[in-house]
Symmetry: C2
């Protein structure tokens, strides 16, 4: 399996490096090919690692990951090209956080829609799966960083696409029992609107890696 | 200590009954005094239980609880009267859920403000504390319903008011270690915007009582 990752920030690089460590070929895509960040990453990661434009990475990948800034994701995906997204699974890990008015950020889409839904509507022949947007990049690929099991939410319209991503998440270290499938892609509204609480918990725990665990009655 | 509870729904009645069981005098307030629900509640609860209008309950209580529907809370608090809220602690447990467009509800205020902030701005001489809006009424007064410790968020501008509410929460059964103070009242944005995720988790766990626990790295 080959992966195309859109976005060369800490989230994109962390996911790309984890995939390389698992033995997959990965192309890291950025706005312009040969970006300095991407070239350094390729140099560090060795022969499984590649870099290119958003379109190059989307063409290369059999499974794609959107790790761009949420407010720029639709632009990045248009640059990637609908033809390169066609019939593929797109794991959306982004959050539509708008920092233009400062800290704390607001959400650029919320309440009656979500970024994942907008992506799904814009690219109807792509299988959009939302997951991993509720944890920081270190926890994404190393859930064992926390001292007990905790919950990862996932949603999407296509059951097989979700099953593929769940298999990938298990390779990242997420126990199957920790993954909670919320249902179709409209559930991304809940997952993205959790971010304002996430940001405030992050402050209250002084920046330590954390996640939430769903505890339910037996 | 005497409590005034605004709202005769399941949340208001559950909190009021718990306070009576702890030995406090409680007045349950509704839009019109002598509402059928309130009269039945008083009859069931005995001599510590009282009922009246929103203004009666706000006048009666030394500590007040807003348990009205979030979209009607400001109207209810205006009916209660600023003079009856003056200098008192108001625990806001409500959520601004708007069901007018059906299920799932949207939030009538979010992203750049919250209901708790609106209440605090409208009644600047009242000590608004937000808590308990992130769990259902059964868990509010019986956190031991769940098989392990889980997290309750609290926020507000006044430290002493928060300390008073934390003492009350401990009497409800919340261990001190389970209560996470997020800071000032603007943090209610995060606590209220968690509701869309709460509603979807509730669906995924098939309506069982639940809550989330913050798990952090050591």
């Amino acid at each position: 399996m080959q992966y195309g990752i859109l976005g060369t920030g800490s989230v994109g690089q962390t996911l790309a490096s984890k995939l390389v460590s698992l033995g997959y070929k990965v192309m890291l895509g950025s706005r312009e090919k040969h970006s300095e960040k991407a070239l350094i990453w390729v140099h560090d990661q060795g022969h499984l690692a590649h870099e290119g434009s958003f379109a190059d990475a989307a063409h290369f990948g059999e499974i794609l990951i959107n790790a761009t800034n949420g407010t720029a994701s639709l632009t990045a995906l248009h640059a990637a090209g609908a033809e390169n997204l066609l019939g593929k699974i797109l794991l959306d890990v982004s959050n539509p956080l708008d920092f233009s008015e400062g800290i704390p950020p607001t959400l650029s889409v919320s309440n009656t829609s979500s970024l994942a839904e907008q992506i799904q509507w814009t690219f109807p022949h792509t299988y959009v799966v939302k997951a991993l947007n509720t944890v920081n990049h270190a926890v994404m690929v190393n859930p064992g960083l926390l001292p007990e099991e905790h919950t990862l939410f996932i949603c999407g319209n296509n059951g097989e696409a979700k099953a593929s991503i769940i298999t990938l998440l298990e390779r990242f270290g997420w126990p199957f029992s920790s993954i909670l499938d919320l249902g179709d892609i409209t559930n991304a509204r809940g997952m993205e609107m959790y971010l304002p609480l996430w940001l405030r918990i992050a402050g209250a725990v002084h920046g330590k890696p954390f996640n939430i665990k769903v505890v339910k009655a037996e």
